[in-house]
C-alpha cells in the first residue's frame, strides 16, 4: 500500500511520466507554429471572409474541417476516459457524439446552407423576426462556448504535464494563451484551412498510438476497431465485470437520456452549424456532413479500443490499476501509449494530437462566440451603423475576455472533460436545437413561441448544471446535488431528454395562441426547403425579397 502510494507520488496523479521532454515538446511547438503559419498565409481582414470563408469550401475539405472542429479533447481524450471509467455507460458518449450528425444531415444541414447567413443567432433573429430572440441565441452561443471550452482547457493542462513538464495550472494558462492569440490573429479562412490540416494531424496521432499499442502488445493488427473484442471481453472477465455489464454504472434511463442529449446537442451547436454556411451549395453541405461523420467515426471507433487496451495494460503497470482516477481516465489515451512502452516521440505525438484537438475546437467555439458578440449583439442591437473595423474589434475583445474566463475556470474544473462538454450539449440541445428544428420545419412557430421556448430550455439546462456543479465549486452540501431527486431525472449532462419535449410543447402552445408569423418569414422557411438552386452568395432572404444575391454584407 505504501509502496503504491510512493509510486503514485512519483508518477503524479495522472500516471504520466513527469518532466520536460524535448522531442514531444518540439513536436507540439512545431505543430502550433505550423497552424499559426497556415493561419498567417490564409489571413483575412474582410468581415465576410472572417466568418464564413467566402462560402467557397468544398466537400472533403469541409468534411475534414467538420471533423477537426468537432473532435475536441472530449473526443480525443474523454470518450476513451469515460469508457475506461464507466464501461458500457461510457458508450453512450461514443454513440451520442457520432450519430447526431445524421439528424443534422437529414433535418438541417442543407436548409441552413440555403438560409445562408452568418451565424446561428442570425438564423434565430431572422426566423423569429426578433432582436430579442437573436440576443438570447447569441447569449446562449457564448454560454455554450464557455462551458465547452472549459473542458478543453482541462485537456490542455493535462497534456502539458506530459509534454512540457509544467504543473496543471501553468499548462492551462500556456496553451489557452496560445489559442487566444491564434484565433484573434487569423480568421475563419485561415481556420478552415487549418482545420483540415488539424484533422489530418490529429487522426494520424490518434491512430498511430492505437495501431502501435495493438501491434506491440499483440492485441490487434490491421483493423483494431474490430479486433479489440477479445480484449474487451477479457477486461470484463478478469478485471472488472462492470466494463461491459450493461447497467452496472448507470441505468437504462441515464444511458438513453445522455445519448439523446448529445444527439440533439450536436444538432444545436452554433459552431457546428456554421460549418454548413461555408460550403458552395446545399449538395456540398449534405456530402460534407457525410464525410464529416466518416472522419469522426475513424477516431470514435478507436476510443473503446483504447479503453480496453489501457485497462489491460494498467494491470501490468505498478501504481496503476482499475478503477482509475478521473485524472488517469482523462489522459487514458496517452497513458495507454506510455504503458505500452512506446518510444517517447510517439507517446508525445499522441499527446500533441490531444492539444491539436483541443485547440481546433476552441478556435471554432471562440469564432462562433466572437461573431455572436460582434455581429448579433453589437451590430444588430447596440450599434446598427457599426463599421467592419468596429465589428472586428468587438469580436477580438470578446475572444480575449472569453479566453481569460475559460482559463480561470479550467484551472480548477468541477468535472471530467467529457462531463463538462456534455453540459454544453445539454444547453445547446435544450435551447437551440428546438428553435432550429421548429424554425425550419414548422413555419407557424412565432416569435413569442420561440422566446418562451428558449427561456424554458435555458431554465432546464442551467438548473441541471447548477444543481450538480454549484455544490462542487462552493464546497457546500458535501458536494452532493442540491436537489438529489432532480439530479436523477435531469442530470447536468443529460437534461435534454426531459427539456426538449417540454420546450417543444411550450413553443408550439405559445405559437398557437399568438399571431402568425409574417408571410415573408413563412416564405423564408419555404425557401430553405425548396429544391431550386440558389446562387452561391445568395441567402434565402435575398430570394424571398427578390433582391438578388452577391452582397450579403449589406442586408
Amino acid at each position: 500500500m505504501t509502496a503504491t502510494a510512493d509510486l503514485l507520488v512519483q508518477i503524479g496523479d495522472t500516471g504520466l511520466e513527469p518532466g520536460f521532454k524535448p522531442i514531444p515538446a518540439a513536436i507540439t511547438v512545431g505543430m502550433l507554429l505550423l497552424f499559426l503559419g497556415v493561419g498567417y498565409v490564409f489571413r483575412v481582414a474582410e468581415v465576410d471572409d472572417l466568418w464564413v470563408a467566402g462560402r467557397g469550401i468544398g466537400n472533403i475539405e469541409n468534411g475534414m474541417a467538420i471533423g477537426a472542429n468537432w473532435m475536441s479533447a472530449a473526443s480525443y481524450l474523454a470518450v476513451a476516459s469515460l469508457v475506461a471509467l464507466s464501461g458500457y455507460f461510457g458508450l453512450a458518449y461514443l454513440v451520442g457524439w457520432t450519430t447526431g450528425y445524421f439528424v443534422l444531415l437529414i433535418f438541417m444541414a442543407a436548409q441552413f446552407r440555403r438560409f445562408g447567413k452568418y451565424t446561428a443567432p442570425d438564423f434565430v433573429g431572422d426566423r423569429f423576426y426578433s432582436d430579442g430572440a437573436r440576443a438570447v441565441a447569441a447569449f446562449t452561443t457564448l454560454l455554450i462556448g464557455f462551458v465547452y471550452a472549459v473542458g478543453q482547457g482541462r485537456g490542455m493542462g493535462l497534456m502539458s504535464i506530459y509534454l512540457f513538464g509544467t504543473d496543471y495550472a501553468t499548462g492551462v494558462i500556456l496553451l489557452m494563451g496560445i489559442t487566444i492569440g491564434y484565433v484573434a490573429l487569423s480568421g475563419m479562412l485561415g481556420a478552415t484551412k487549418n482545420m483540415a490540416l488539424q484533422y489530418v494531424i490529429l487522426i494520424i496521432a490518434f491512430l498511430a498510438g492505437l495501431y502501435a499499442v495493438g501491434w506491440t502488445q499483440g492485441y490487434s493488427t490491421v483493423l483494431p476497431y474490430l479486433e479489440f473484442g477479445d480484449e474487451a471481453t477479457r477486461v470484463a472477465n478478469t478485471i472488472a465485470a462492470e466494463f461491459t455489464a450493461p447497467f452496472a454504472n448507470a441505468s437504462y434511463y441515464q444511458w438513453v437520456a445522455l445519448a439523446f442529449t448529445l444527439i440533439v446537442g450536436t444538432a444545436g451547436l452554433p459552431h457546428v452549424l456554421v460549418r454548413f454556411y461555408t460550403v458552395e451549395n446545399e449538395r456540398t453541405a449534405r456530402w460534407s456532413c457525410v464525410w464529416g461523420l466518416f472522419f469522426i467515426c475513424l477516431l470514435y471507433w478507436g476510443t473503446a479500443a483504447y479503453a480496453a487496451f489501457g485497462t489491460l495494460l494498467g494491470e501490468q503497470t505498478p501504481g496503476l490499476s482499475y478503477p482509475f482516477t478521473g485524472e488517469q481516465g482523462d489522459v487514458m489515451v496517452v497513458l495507454t501509449a506510455q504503458m505500452a512502452n512506446l518510444p517517447q516521440w510517439l507517446v508525445g505525438l499522441v499527446a500533441a494530437g490531444g492539444v491539436a484537438a483541443a485547440l481546433a475546437t476552441v478556435a471554432g467555439l471562440f469564432i462562433a462566440g466572437s461573431s455572436a458578440a460582434a455581429h448579433d449583439l453589437y451590430t444588430n442591437i447596440v450599434n446598427e451603423d457599426a463599421t467592419q473595423r468596429q465589428q472586428l474589434v468587438v469580436g477580438r475583445v470578446t475572444i480575449v475576455l472569453l479566453g481569460i474566463l475559460v482559463t480561470l475556470t479550467a484551472i480548477n474544473p468541477p468535472a471530467l472533460i467529457g462531463e463538462l462538454v456534455s453540459m454544453a450539449f445539454a444547453i445547446s440541445g435544450s435551447v437551440l436545437f428546438p428553435m432550429f428544428f421548429l424554425g425550419l420545419w414548422w413555419e407557424n412557430t412565432t416569435r413569442e413561441g420561440a422566446l418562451a421556448g428558449m427561456f424554458t430550455g435555458l431554465a432546464f439546462s442551467t438548473f441541471g448544471i447548477v444543481n450538480e456543479v454549484l455544490p462542487t465549486i462552493a464546497g457546500i452540501n458535501q458536494g452532493e446535488p442540491l436537489v438529489p431527486a432532480a439530479a436523477a431525472v435531469i442530470p447536468a449532462t443529460s437534461s435534454a431528454l426531459v427539456a426538449v419535449p417540454v420546450v417543444f410543447l411550450v413553443t408550439i402552445a405559445v405559437s398557437l395562441v399568438t399571431e402568425d408569423p409574417p408571410t415573408e418569414v413563412k416564405r423564408l422557411v419555404r425557401q430553405c426547403h425548396s429544391p431550386e438552386p440558389m446562387q452561391r452568395m445568395e441567402s434565402a432572404e435575398d430570394v424571398v425579397s427578390g433582391s438578388g444575391g452577391g452582397t450579403p454584407g449589406d442586408d
Binding site: 469508457v83 471481453t233 437504462y252 438513453v256 449538395r283 413555419e443 446562387q535 444575391g549
Partner: protein, 143 residues
C-alpha cells in the same frame, strides 16, 4: 426507391428561366407559396423528400437506441453471445451504432441526389458567382 415514380411536372416549370436573381418582378415559384409541414408535405418534391427523411430516420432510431434497449430487455442473450470476440451488446453499441448512422447518411445523401436528378436540379460549381439558377434551366444533369 423513388426513381421509378414519375410524378407530374414540377412547380418550377415556367417561371424558372426568368430566375435571373436580380429581377425585381420575380414571380414566386410555387415552393414559396406552399406550407412546410413535416407530416403533410404539400409538393411532390417535399413528399418524396420526406419519404427519404422518415424512412432513414426510423432505421437510425433502431441502430442508435436498438442495442441498448435490446440489452435492457434480453440482457442474458446479448451479453452472452460472442461475435468477433465481442459481447454482442458491446459490439452493436460501440461499433454498430456509429456505423449504422454513417451508412444511413450515405443512403440519405444519395437518395437526395436522385431527387435532384428527378426534379431536374443542378448544383453546378462553376467559377465565380455566376452559376446558380440559370444553370439549371436546361433541367440538367447532376454534377
Amino acid at each position: 426507391m423513388t426513381d421509378d415514380t414519375t410524378d407530374g411536372p414540377e412547380p418550377h416549370g415556367p417561371d424558372h428561366e426568368t430566375d435571373g436573381g436580380t429581377v425585381a418582378g420575380r414571380e414566386p415559384a410555387n415552393y414559396l407559396d406552399t406550407e412546410i409541414n413535416l407530416f403533410s408535405p404539400a409538393t411532390p418534391f417535399m413528399r418524396d423528400h420526406l419519404k427519404v427523411v422518415w424512412g432513414t430516420f426510423v432505421l437510425w432510431v433502431l441502430f442508435v437506441f436498438g442495442p441498448v434497449t435490446a440489452t435492457a430487455l434480453a440482457p442474458e442473450l446479448l451479453t452472452g453471445t460472442i461475435v468477433l470476440g465481442f459481447q454482442l451488446h458491446f459490439l452493436l453499441t460501440a461499433i454498430g451504432a456509429p456505423l449504422g448512422a454513417l451508412l444511413l447518411s450515405v443512403v440519405y445523401a444519395r437518395q437526395r441526389d436522385r431527387l435532384d436528378e428527378k426534379y431536374g436540379i443542378s448544383h453546378s460549381t462553376g467559377p465565380a458567382d455566376s452559376e446558380g439558377t440559370t444553370a439549371a434551366a436546361d433541367g440538367g444533369e447532376v454534377q
